[in-house]
Structures are given as structure tokens and as C-alpha cells.
Symmetry: C2
Subunit: 208 residues, 2 copies
């Protein structure tokens, strides 16, 4: 059985939903991010980066959201969560996920996690000040150039959808009105209505 | 034929080497990054993010290094540049590439590209000041926990190797002595000796 380490209000939500959509046999284990459990020796032994998500398989450990999403899709083919056998379509899906990981998530992280990139408190304030504009710019590109509809990649739901849902969920806290992006906003509402999403949100929001 | 848009001294070097290692039929087109060509209407029509690399295929456009690397491997199977049919091994390779993309590259970018995340010049100086330590920390994890040897994933050369080579190449400019990481340093030298790498370095360093 897979062991899935997640944190509340983190990007691990994307892989968590994907596991549920895939019908995977997994145990979800909460990591106390606020309490710093991700920096404990036990956790660092699993994932030296001290981040979530971490997926423990019978072969070993995987980390990084885009890698875990592709792995879930590839090992649960009946769920058809990625066009694995079509290199170009799979590449487009991976490009979307990589953009969320390396640009959109990074942009968002400059609000609360600026200490990763600067020690000076004033610098961290300057980073926070730019988050609303950056997130708005990133979602402008998603809305107008990347999102196909009704799902991220078009007619077929894929692992890109829970990932977009996860980062869309950060917009309000980042001072961006999701209604500026009507197709993303519509996607966000339809995602919330999916049973797998509702189930995972219940688990993640439950008191530990 | 593939059209590959690259920039000098950018992460596009990884995909460029991978195309060469794969024996791909491609045309390499230089984008004048210093001159801002990546923000021209023509280029933004291809890649609305205004970044390199961009790969134009007969099906459409791909961006994002991890996605392009997997695509090259998947469409040039004879070159055996990724364990596509082994979801766990492929997941490990993708996790490695995603770490380089979303953590290591991002850490490096805070030296010259801090304006992406803060407008205040003092904040950008504070970001630059932390780059040496961050890059050193990231490579400490690569050296001790991620790199297997002799290649990134072990006995088999993969698309993770040109990507590691590309970011290792930034260490000197970031104030990090690569010799602190002997296995990475040895990999860097062996990579330079590969004909495909030497050929691409010649193309990229040629005056336009």
C-alpha cells in the first residue's frame, strides 16, 4: 500500500486528490507543517528536502508534485488521468504541471516563504508586496493561453486538474479575485463538486 | 523537423544536449535573451511565458525543461534516455528534474532575476546575497542523497544528466566551488567530454 505524506494548505492537495481519483490503495499521513515536523530527522530520512508531498511506494520514495502526479496516472491506467502513450499530449500536460510547480507555486511562496530567498525582513516585505500582481499575471496566461476547457487539457480530465484546483485555491489569500479569470473560476467550482475532491478536502480540513 | 528555441547561458542547454544525445532531427534557433527577443510578439505567440526553451513539433509547441526532456526521451526510444516503461524509475528521474527546475533553478535565478519577485533594489540585493548559500545547500542534497553515480540515476545515462550538467555550470558564477561536491564535480567533467555536449557547447558559444 502507498503511504502518502501531506500537509494542510500545501501543494500536496493535488497529489492527494489524484490518488483519490485514481482509486489508489493508499494511507494518508499528515505532516505537521506548522510544527516543523517536515524538518524532523525521521521525515528528512524519507525526503531530505523537508517538503511535502512524499509518496512511499514498495519500490522506494517519490517526491515533487509533477513527478508524483505522472506516477499516479501511469500506475493507475484505468483511471485515464494522463495521456501516457501520446508523448506530445503527455508533454503538454507535463508542461502545464511544471509551470504550476516552478512558476506559479514559486510566485505564491514569496508571500509566506520569502525567507527561503532573503534574510532581510524588508526584502521579505518587498516580495510579499509583489505576490498579488505576479499571481494575477500567471493566471492571466493560464486563462487566456493554457486552459482549454472544460478541463485543463480539454475534454479529458487529467492530473493537471487537481493541480490547477490546488493553486487556484491560493488566489483569495494572495489578494487575487478568481472571478477575473472566468474559465478558471468555473473550473474551480466544478472541481469542488467532484466526490473525490470533497472527500479529500474533508480529510485535510479535519482536526488532527 | 523539430524547431528548438534556445538562449545562451540558460537552462535550454539541458534540452539542447538531450536533442543531440537522442540523435533528433532538429533545427536550433537562438533567441537573443539579452536583447529581449523572448518578449517579442512573435516569440510570445509561440510561448506566452516569454522564456526558453521552446520546442516546436509537428503537433504543436512544448515548453518547460522537465516536460521537453521527457518528450525527447519518449519520442527517441532507441537512445534510452529515460526509463519510460518503469513508472517508479521514471518517477525518480522526473522528481530529480523537477527539483532542478522548481528549487535549484529558482534559487539561482534570485541572483540576476530578482526583479521577478520584488521591485525594491535593496530587496534584490538581499536575494543576491543568499544565492551562494542556497545553491550550496541544494547541491549538498544532490551530492549526498540524490546523485547515484556514475550518472544521475545510476548506471544508465538519462535526460537528468544534461540537466544536472546545466545547473552545475552555474555554480562558479554563483560563488560555489564545485569541488565541495566531488561526485557532482566528477560528473561535470565527464559530461564535458561527451561528444554531444562538446558539440552543443560549441554551437551555444559561437558568436551569432
Amino acid at each position: 500500500m502507498l503511504k502518502f505524506y501531506y500537509g494542510v494548505a500545501t501543494c500536496s492537495l493535488a497529489s492527494h486528490i489524484a490518488l483519490e481519483e485514481a482509486g489508489a490503495d493508499y494511507e494518508a499521513i499528515r505532516v505537521d507543517i506548522r510544527g516543523g515536523q517536515q524538518q524532523s530527522p525521521e521525515y528528512l530520512a524519507l525526503n531530505p528536502k523537508g517538503r511535502v508531498p512524499t509518496l512511499v511506494t514498495d519500490r522506494g520514495v517519490l517526491s515533487e508534485t509533477p513527478a508524483i502526479l505522472a506516477y499516479i496516472a501511469q500506475t493507475h491506467r484505468a483511471a485515464e488521468l494522463a495521456p501516457i502513450d501520446d508523448p506530445f499530449a503527455f508533454g503538454e500536460l507535463q508542461a502545464f504541471n511544471s509551470y504550476l510547480c516552478s512558476t506559479v507555486h514559486v510566485g505564491h511562496a514569496h508571500k509566506m516563504r520569502g525567507g527561503r530567498w532573503a534574510d532581510d525582513p524588508a526584502a521579505r516585505e518587498a516580495m510579499t508586496a509583489k505576490v498579488t500582481q505576479n499571481m494575477s499575471d500567471y493566471f492571466g496566461i493560464i486563462e487566456s493561453r493554457m486552459f482549454r476547457g472544460p478541463w485543463v487539457m480539454g475534454e479529458r480530465y487529467s492530473v493537471g486538474d487537481p493541480y490547477l484546483f490546488t493553486v487556484s485555491n491560493w488566489l483569495e489569500g494572495d489578494g487575487v479575485d478568481i472571478r477575473k479569470f472566468p474559465r478558471v473560476a468555473d473550473h474551480f467550482e466544478r472541481m469542488k463538486a467532484r466526490p473525490a475532491v470533497a472527500k479529500v478536502l474533508d480529510v485535510v480540513s479535519a482536526k488532527s
